[in-house]
């Protein structure tokens, strides 16, 4: 039987209409564009599709994207763990300010995020002269791209972990410590296993954004072909050059990444439920 009472009381036509609107909307704005990406990429056949990846510029863009995500994601993993540990397990002044600040990259336009780094490290920026004197290149170079990506993606892991860690309180950690475990053992054996699925979920989202980021990276990259182009930037360049097959071929990789991310996200969401104590029988018993 349908557990939702609304489903029984609403007229049949209304249900049909609502479902139709949802399907139409999703089809028009999600499935159709996704399909277009793959169709356009394969328009001139499978051969042309794979030839697109033989271009050194394409390979360099893919490599740079992997490198950027490979640095940004671990950084934010560590940052996310540290920040959520601090927020969830300790009481200190300015905690709310910290939580708000963690959300800052969500609130700021990515272009602005990129611009901040240009203003700081660019030739006319605060540290510009010093950097130039020491022959250090940040803006229009790989370090700038990595920095901008880290900034844009740092809330993902922390945002996932903070509510969960707050929910789980500190009793298990106290228990571990009273049993003689060191801080490190407590972290590896108790805290981390308790949040592992949520952590992985945050990492998946963080990774998707790190690889797909356009705005912030675009500002700091300088679009030097074969050197400072990530995949999204490379797609743009190819498209502007009317090289549609190659543009959509690279885009299809990003689309595939999105699909893998979605699947991983769905699987992880069901696993996270086992970590949320509110759904645990012991908590229910306590409430009773």
């Amino acid at each position: 039987m349908n557990p939702n009472p609304l489903a029984r009381s609403d007229p049949r036509w209304l249900r049909a209409l609502l479902i139709a609107v949802t399907v139409l909307f999703l089809g028009l704005f999600l499935f159709l564009p996704l399909l277009t990406v793959f169709l356009e990429a394969l328009r001139k056949g499978v051969g042309a599709y794979f030839t697109s990846f033989r271009d050194p510029a394409a390979r360099s863009a893919i490599w740079l994207t992997l490198l950027t995500a490979g640095i940004a994601v671990p950084c934010n993993l560590v940052f996310g763990l540290v920040a959520s540990w601090a927020v969830a397990k300790f009481e200190f002044k300015g905690k709310n300010v910290l939580i708000t600040l963690i959300d800052l990259p969500f609130a700021v336009s990515p272009v602005i995020s990129g611009l901040i780094y240009v203003l700081m490290f660019g030739a006319q920026g605060w540290f510009g002269t010093w950097l130039a004197a020491h022959h250090l290149h940040i803006i229009f170079a790989v370090p700038g791209i990595v920095l901008a990506t880290i900034f844009v993606t740092f809330p993902f892991v922390a945002r996932e972990l903070i509510p969960l860690m707050q929910e789980q309180d500190t009793d298990e950690e106290y228990a571990a410590i009273s049993l003689g475990a060191s801080g490190w053992q407590t972290f590896w054996r108790v805290t981390l296993p308790n949040v592992k699925w949520a952590l992985l979920y945050g990492v998946v989202l963080c990774n998707a954004r790190a690889m797909g980021e356009f705005g912030a990276v675009s500002v700091v990259s300088g679009h030097i072909r074969g050197l400072t182009n990530t995949m999204p930037l490379h797609v743009e360049i190819l498209y502007n050059e009317y090289n549609f097959v190659a543009a959509f071929a690279v885009a299809s990789l990003l689309a595939l990444l999105a699909l893998v991310t979605l699947i991983a996200k769905t699987v992880l969401e069901s696993r996270i439920r086992t970590e949320v104590p509110a759904l645990d029988a012991s908590a229910l018993e306590t409430i009773r």
Partner: protein, 367 residues
């Protein structure tokens, strides 16, 4: 292994949780720290365990068996700590939970895996949960979880056992069974134990000695019998169970509570001094006629006989509600029913003057 806490104070922001508390638990004793929430009992327990630190004070110290452990961290004190909400490691099986304390030891102190296995098997046997070793905490009932938590605490062969409201999250029936089991277990292994509870029944049933706390101070300590039968303050009297309260005053050496006039053997106080009479429900009896014992007229309003004792609610002439409890056999002799007019007589009572000194008054004569 005795526990001693000396001059412990603790402040959380504006809240003074403990005010210069000193406490001693003798070797092999099971002591209950009893008090309402906010009385500081859990804070004291956590300070003894090392999970919390006392406010700095040169005279304050925690000693185990005379050895000062104030400076050592929780993990070094070798205390078994049992949490109200079990705090079992949710990602580990029952077996791994119990083995945890042994497996995290530094390599040179760590028993071999087979020795650990043997120890865990022993403890599982002790808590009667051998067949549940491969289960996860979420697959256990509350009572089973708390037994696992106890086994986990005992695995490290603690010097003392500290229990923070261990049965607080369990339903009444499981709670009763488990605390009797805990008492038997304690009689078997004689580990010095300190148990925090807000349930006076639990404290009286389980403990060798009860320490009543209030507002961060120790209000009274003694055997369950002493604390129950000879409370030194109104607070303890009230906290130890249901009580009937009458307000009155002292007049020419007697304590006067409306129609009740009682001898008062306590400190000499001027006439008109406020006094309060505390009478436990079972210290009241009901009779049809006045029988020489101090008493007053009342009307039966409600009789509740479902239970070990019959509970009778009465209303005095001045409209105050009184509760009487008596065994079924006596209730059948008295044969009272709602709306009957009866005499309520005093079998025992306790008078507290306003500055809270008490005098026993066992069926004092009417004057």
């Amino acid at each position: 292994m005795s526990i001693e806490a000396r001059h412990i104070s603790k402040r959380f922001g504006n809240f003074q949780a403990l005010r210069n508390v000193s406490l001693k638990v003798n070797d092999g004793e099971l002591v209950a720290l009893l008090g309402p929430s906010g009385s500081g009992k859990t804070t004291l327990l956590r300070i003894i365990s090392g999970l919390e630190e006392a406010d700095p004070d040169p005279s304050s110290a925690i000693l185990f068996h005379g050895e000062d452990v104030t400076a050592s961290r929780a993990g070094q004190r070798r205390v078994g700590f049992v949490f109200q909400h079990y705090a079992l490691f949710r990602n580990m099986t029952v077996f791994d939970n119990i083995a945890f304390g042994l497996r995290v030891r530094p390599r040179r102190l760590r028993p071999t895996e087979s020795a650990i296995r043997q120890k865990v098997e022993e403890l599982l046997h002790l808590i009667h949960l051998r067949e549940l070793a491969p289960r996860f905490p979420s697959q256990l009932s509350g009572g089973q979880r708390q037994r696992v938590a106890l086994a986990r605490a005992l695995a490290i062969e603690p010097r003392v056992l500290l229990l923070d409201e261990p049965f607080g999250a369990l339903d009444a029936k499981v709670r009763h069974g488990l605390r009797r089991w805990l008492r038997r277990l304690h009689d078997e292994i004689h580990i010095t134990s300190l148990l925090v509870t807000h349930d006076q029944e639990e404290a009286l049933e389980v403990a060798d000695r009860v320490v009543v706390m209030r507002d961060g101070r120790i209000e009274q300590e003694g055997t369950p019998e002493e604390v129950y039968h000879h409370p030194t303050s109104e607070f303890v009297m009230d906290f130890m169970g249901n009580v009937n309260l009458f307000h009155g005053r002292i007049e020419s050496g007697k304590a006067v509570f409306g129609p009740l006039v009682l001898d008062h053997a306590g400190a000499k106080v001027p006439d008109g001094h406020g006094a309060r009479l505390f009478v436990r429900p079972f210290e009241l009896d009901i009779s049809r006629q006045q029988n020489g014992l101090p008493g007053m007229k009342a009307r039966v309003t409600r009789v509740q006989s479902a239970g070990a004792q019959v509970r009778i609610e009465l209303s005095s002439e001045s409209g105050e509600t009184m509760h009487v409890e008596m065994p079924h056999s006596r209730f059948r002799e008295r044969a009272v029913a709602p709306k009957d007019d009866v005499f309520v007589t005093l079998l025992g009572s306790r008078i507290f003057l306003e500055e809270q000194t008490s005098t026993n008054n066992n069926g004092g004569k009417l004057s």
